[in-house]
Symmetry: C2
Amino acid sequence: MAHGSTRPTSRDVAQAAGVSQAAVSLVLGDKWRGRVSQATAERVREAARELGYRPNLAARNLRLGRTRTVLLVVPALTTEFFAGVYTGAARIAAQNGFGVVLYPSPEGIGPARDPFASAQAALDGIIASSMAADALTALRGDQLPLVMLDSDPEGSLGAATVNLDIADGVRQVAGHLLGLGHRRLLHLAADVASWTFEVRARELAARVGAVPGTSLLTVRAPISIEGARTAAETALSAKGPRPTAIICDDDKLAAGAYKAVRRLGLRIPDDISVTGLDDLALATAIDPELTTVRLDAELFGERGMQALLAVLDGRRPDGGDIPVELVVRGSTAPPSVP
Amino acid sequence: MAHGSTRPTSRDVAQAAGVSQAAVSLVLGDKWRGRVSQATAERVREAARELGYRPNLAARNLRLGRTRTVLLVVPALTTEFFAGVYTGAARIAAQNGFGVVLYPSPEGIGPARDPFASAQAALDGIIASSMAADALTALRGDQLPLVMLDSDPEGSLGAATVNLDIADGVRQVAGHLLGLGHRRLLHLAADVASWTFEVRARELAARVGAVPGTSLLTVRAPISIEGARTAAETALSAKGPRPTAIICDDDKLAAGAYKAVRRLGLRIPDDISVTGLDDLALATAIDPELTTVRLDAELFGERGMQALLAVLDGRRPDGGDIPVELVVRGSTAPPSVP
DNA sequence: CCGCCGAAGTTTTACGTATAACGTCTCCCG
DNA sequence: CGGGAGACGTTATACGTAAAACTTCGGCGG
């Protein structure tokens, strides 16, 4: 470190104010009622301001044995969804004097560095999306309080879970399409092993299976526009009667489906309906605008952080899934009757 | 903290291995050649593994006076661009034993908490996007090594800068459109006071102004699809000859322009050409695919981190703007000759 | 007038680590 | 055979903070 002048410490402030280091700590830590006079306290604060004093966090953390920092583990930040989650979590954290460090699970970042080395910070707790499964294995073994987002409530032993009511969203989508008269459905599924996607498949099968005379074909694709386009194009080109609607596991897949449909010379929603899930900016950028399920990412983050704070306090986090909302736009219509 | 069993310290490891704490530190810190025997070193490592020892980072940071952690300050994470920057920066950081903490400048996160309180971590340096101007004011006053991304090389006193060659990108876009024969251009500009956008405006004016018989109208819009649509629609509905091409400051604005064009019953690129800048996923999701300028976000992040490492080492970061590339897709064509 | 209490501080200690400074013991060379 | 040079450790210390334990002093009730 070429740092010439070292930063002022609480001892420097003490000297400047003519008091002991302990007094500085008391005043700045707001624990001085009945211990330090009003006048002295003001003098200390003035000295601190004067010197531009900032407490050394490493020292404080060492002393207190906690950091008031939590880690938010998310899959590679490829959409704005997790930006929303972060925003919500950070808001609640800030209100409680906590900081949030983001740990996007590495993808080509390097040889699987563990989150702790990477975040360097010592942590009080972790909020992790179930989609960042690879990072989770590295997390196991440490006994930090953990909150899982969108994870199997049964499977995540011990850890509290906070979930979006994806199942309800899928039911709404399926109900919407079935109500319009669609009977041949294509499920464009994310090629990711994660609970949140399993729920989609399960719920869809249940809801559609309950209606006689329906068919449901599932095709898997990586979550990218190009990957989804390829998968959808192949599925739509297959022999036999064509599906009249495509239900996509998320909006990005839906964007790929749009391209597939267009390539085949078909039109949305006239020839085929498409639905997404997320309600990203993408959903209103494409034409026609996408019928999708709106997820409140910020609320998701808020609830996640609240759950973690509860765990840290020894309280039980309050449960209840976060409601989602079907947003009907121009990409769905009754099937054309040939 | 309800933490029942406290984590093992280096002293615990020492006791288990039958050596002193200092020996543990030497071995685990890989400074033991000629100080500790091969056998003892192995014994220490085994004990550490056995106990699941992890060094207390707060203590280490306090001792060393540095954290090997840098802060990456970015504007609200609303696109995948900064996710790429992070990935690149984190890769280089990891190769050098550094960690990167993300600080998305708060937007509704709370009462302007300063980055240091929020990131809690003590920092060795900062990489900041010029777009996160609000957070920067909070950073001033601290003498941390600073690297600015996409910032005025002249204006950012002292701080090293790493820039994309946006000016060249704009020249390429303008050249492309002028080459196709366009003469009436609309510049859909971002309503953000930031150097990177000023460069676009300046360079565009220079390049277009050099060609006789051209007109260039500038309209500002917030960086959102809906905001851009409104602004573009208003501009296109104005009296007088209509522009034949819209040059957008980024891809999101371009998506808004698409919607405006479509609302007016016009077609891209037949009636009007549109260009973007960024090459986000969005660019290939919309129809027709967007002619835009590809920015290598990861390389940007890598170069930023390399520059910061250089500063930390007392070396001079090597300069040179990062090249960008025009990607011609379906949204541009020669103007229709009425 | 004694003893106690509260105000206003100070002294001291511990947090866990990295490393400088300090012992041994053995070997080898002159 | 004296002593210097490794090899192999250990002891001691500092980093900056928070807080428990201690000191001092004036006032006041009994």
